[in-house]
């Protein structure tokens, strides 16, 4: 057993030191999953993000934010009357997020230095977590853009500074020095804003500068921001693909498995042609050890690819796992099936070129008919029938069931059995033909 672990560890180490293998096993499948996710998502990445907007506030501040949001080219905004309607639209996948300007959004600047900030709420579909950051950043920016308008309103300003002084005076835990500095800051701000010739402030420039410096000092203070954007996520749903990423990551996963085949079939062939395989046989280990070591390394890297890709879908693209245990079972059997296929390819190929060709090229064909490039339901019927011959199809089916389809257990048995069969067959034929090339 120690020998097997030693062998497997060596192979994994070699895998991670080979840039080509790392690329085809880990990086490429991820890129593919993300790319296809965006392509099938229809958004196409560069076009505007669909937003639902609800304005519950009658304040001119809210009006300003709503207006800027509508004009912003990053967003395609649909206005709804109630937050329920807007949230429903998110849930239906028609928009990425709903932005709510709540009735608590007041014109006054009182809240600003009081600690609560300008309240903005957003409800987002978890599958669009990637866009959440963008939306959040944009809302901050839009809120800040409203400041110059407030700062040029004399009445608002006096109220603001008076409020600020009161807050400072009443604040607990300030040292006298801090209190003095804060009061000085307010006084300086007051002096600065009152010195602006208000009639000339039609162009935003100096006031914007003031707003920006405010924004900077706010962010450098770290804990406090004058804009409070609260983002809430809808609970994930089950039963259907929540996003195109639910479809694209299982596909990326089979590409990762294909990468494993290429890497391990290649490594067997390389070790055979360079003589290291023969040298290993000098050690007091059996052929079974040797093959088990290779198989284990391939199995583990296949498992790693699977876990990595589905984790990425969950963490970064809002997918959620319907049946974690069954997904693990699907991972294990897929990894087993593809380790078997790696053995088969290794056994049948004599040269490095052949192994690379079969591992990456031949696998491409199986991937294409098996739904590795386009989802099965996009395929014409004859191709869909052919896909039964491809191990890729069975991996996709085995993984999607417990991942997002939430299929009943009974329906998950068939693909799992097929994968187990592929593994047994691959190991059987592959090991036999590798043995025949190893000599005694």
């Amino acid at each position: 057993m120690n020998a097997v672990l030693t062998l497997a560890q060596k192979d994994l180490r070699l895998l991670f030191r080979d840039k080509g293998d790392v690329f085809f096993t880990f990086i490429f499948p991820m890129l593919l999953a993300i790319l296809f996710g965006f392509i099938f998502g229809g958004g196409g990445g560069t076009s505007a993000i669909d937003l639902a907007l609800v304005n519950e506030s009658s304040s001119s501040l809210a009006k300003g934010i709503a207006g800027d949001l509508t004009r912003d080219s990053s967003f395609a905004v649909t206005t709804f009357a109630t937050r329920e309607e807007a949230t429903a639209s998110v849930r239906a996948g028609k928009v990425v997020a709903a932005v709510i300007l709540p009735s608590t959004m007041q014109d006054g600047l009182d809240g600003l230095f009081g600690g609560s900030g300008i309240p903005i709420e957003a409800v987002i579909d978890p599958s669009h977590r990637a866009e959440a950051g963008l939306i959040q950043g944009k809302l901050h920016e839009l809120a800040f853009r409203q400041f110059p308008r407030m700062f040029t309103d004399g009445a608002q300003m006096s109220k603001l500074f008076a409020g600020a002084r009161k807050t400072i005076a009443g604040a607990d835990g300030l040292t006298p020095a801090q209190r003095l500095a804060a009061t000085g800051f307010v006084a300086a701000g007051e002096l600065f804003t009152t010195s602006i010739d208000r009639s000339s402030v039609k162009s935003d420039t100096p006031a914007t500068a003031a707003a920006e410096s405010d924004a900077e000092s706010a962010s450098s203070a770290g804990a406090w921001s004058p804009v409070a954007v609260t983002v809430a996520e809808l609970p994930p749903r089950t039963g259907g693909p929540r996003s195109s990423f639910d479809l694209s990551f299982p596909q990326g996963l089979v590409w990762g498995l294909a990468g494993c085949i290429g890497a391990f079939a290649g490594s067997v062939v390389v070790e055979r042609s360079r003589g290291t395989l023969a040298r290993l046989r000098l050690a007091p280990i059996t052929q079974a050890h040797l093959l088990a070591g290779k198989g284990l390394a391939c199995f583990l890297s296949a498992l790693l690819v699977e876990v990595l890709l589905i984790s990425m879908a969950v963490v970064a693209f809002g997918s959620s796992i319907a049946q974690p245990f069954m997904l693990l079972v699907a991972f294990v059997l897929s990894a087993f099936a593809f380790s078997g296929l790696a053995m088969l390819v290794a056994g049948l190929c004599r040269t490095e070129a052949e192994a690379n060709g079969a591992g990456r090229g031949g696998v491409l064909l199986l991937a294409m008919i098996g739904g590795g490039t386009i989802p099965l339901f996009f395929m014409p019927p004859f191709l869909r029938t052919m896909s039964y011959a491809s191990p890729f199809r069975w991996v996709v089916q085995a993984v999607e069931g417990p991942f997002w389809r939430d299929t009943p257990l009974g329906e998950q048995i068939l693909p799992l059995v097929v994968l187990a069969g592929i593994g047994v067959l691959g190991f059987g034929v592959g090991v036999r033909s590798i043995r025949s090339t190893l000599g005694r």
């Binding site: 060596k10 180490r13 070699l14 030191r17 023969a278 000098l282 007091p284 280990i285 000599g439 005694r440």
Partner: protein, 279 residues
């Protein structure tokens, strides 16, 4: 220690080993000298038990055939090719082989070996970046991880600069002094003459003769050339007995100088095969 008895091996139409026998005694450095394609590597592969001979017998330490893993574990082979992992460091390579052999205290053993082959300073470098000589030394170190009694070194100086070659030869001498039994294949007769206690001359898969260098030269080297100078006059005489010839010349008198050229393994090989070792 190691006995090969009438080994035969064919690869298709090629007869690689053709009835070769040899017997290596404990603690001796045995040289297999022969040109490329003579069947040296094939013989070693059969001696390890990994390549099956068509016929013949192999015995290691009186324990039987090394096809048996426990018998084989007394054997270390440094193959003619560098069979290490270029992407692993020197230390990782040795540690891997040590663990594969189940060496107790593998880490300490690896540090010892790195010191023996003088590669401590490069221990953490991937061996893909090593010079030919450094790879050779590490290839040899990997054969030593489990401290085997019998060492098979297949052309351990192939593709190595003269300085590294001397280091490797010195290393082999050190191992011999430490009591290892060593089979050393080469097509360089100088190496065989320098470090081997006995040499077997191989060609076309056959063992043509075995003996100490002196014995082989006496048997097959032919005549020595004795050049006798008398003033400006040089006389060159070929003789089987140079001592007698020199004595005779001195008896004649007037000798101002004598030079004796002894035959070497090159001459032995030429005499045995009708060809030069260097082709």
């Amino acid at each position: 220690m190691l006995t090969l008895g009438d080994i035969r091996k064919r690869f298709g139409a090629t007869t690689a080993v053709d009835g070769l026998s040899l017997q290596v005694s404990a603690g001796e450095v045995f040289g297999l000298l022969g040109p490329n394609g003579a069947g040296k590597s094939t013989s070693l592969a059969i001696a390890t038990g990994l390549l099956a001979a068509d016929s013949g017998s192999v015995d290691l330490l009186g324990l039987g055939s090394p096809t048996n893993a426990s018998v084989r574990s007394h054997l270390g082979l440094a193959p003619q090719e560098i069979t290490l992992y270029a992407e692993l460091t020197a230390r990782e390579n040795l540690l891997f082989f040590a663990r594969l052999y189940g060496v107790a205290n593998a880490r300490r053993r690896v540090e010892e070996l790195l010191a023996i082959v003088e590669l401590e300073s490069r221990a953490n470098d991937r061996i893909g970046t090593f010079s030919g000589g450094m790879k050779r030394r590490l290839n040899l170190a990997a054969a030593l991880v489990h401290d085997p009694k019998v060492l098979l070194l297949d052309e351990p100086t192939a593709g190595v600069d003269p300085q590294s070659r001397n280091r490797i030869l010195e290393l082999v001498r050190t191992l011999a002094r430490a009591g290892k039994t060593i089979v050393y294949t080469t097509h360089y007769m100088e190496e065989a003459a320098k470090i081997c206690d006995r040499v077997g001359i191989v060609d076309h898969g056959r063992m043509l003769d075995v003996g100490t260098v002196a014995q082989l030269v006496t048997r097959h080297g032919g005549h020595s050339a004795v050049t006798v100078s008398r003033g400006d006059q040089d006389e060159r005489v070929l003789t089987a007995d140079p001592v007698a010839e020199v004595t005779r010349q001195f008896a004649v008198g007037g000798v101002t100088g004598v030079r004796v050229e002894s035959p070497d393994l090159e001459a032995v090989f030429l005499a045995l095969t009708g060809r030069s070792l260097r082709e």
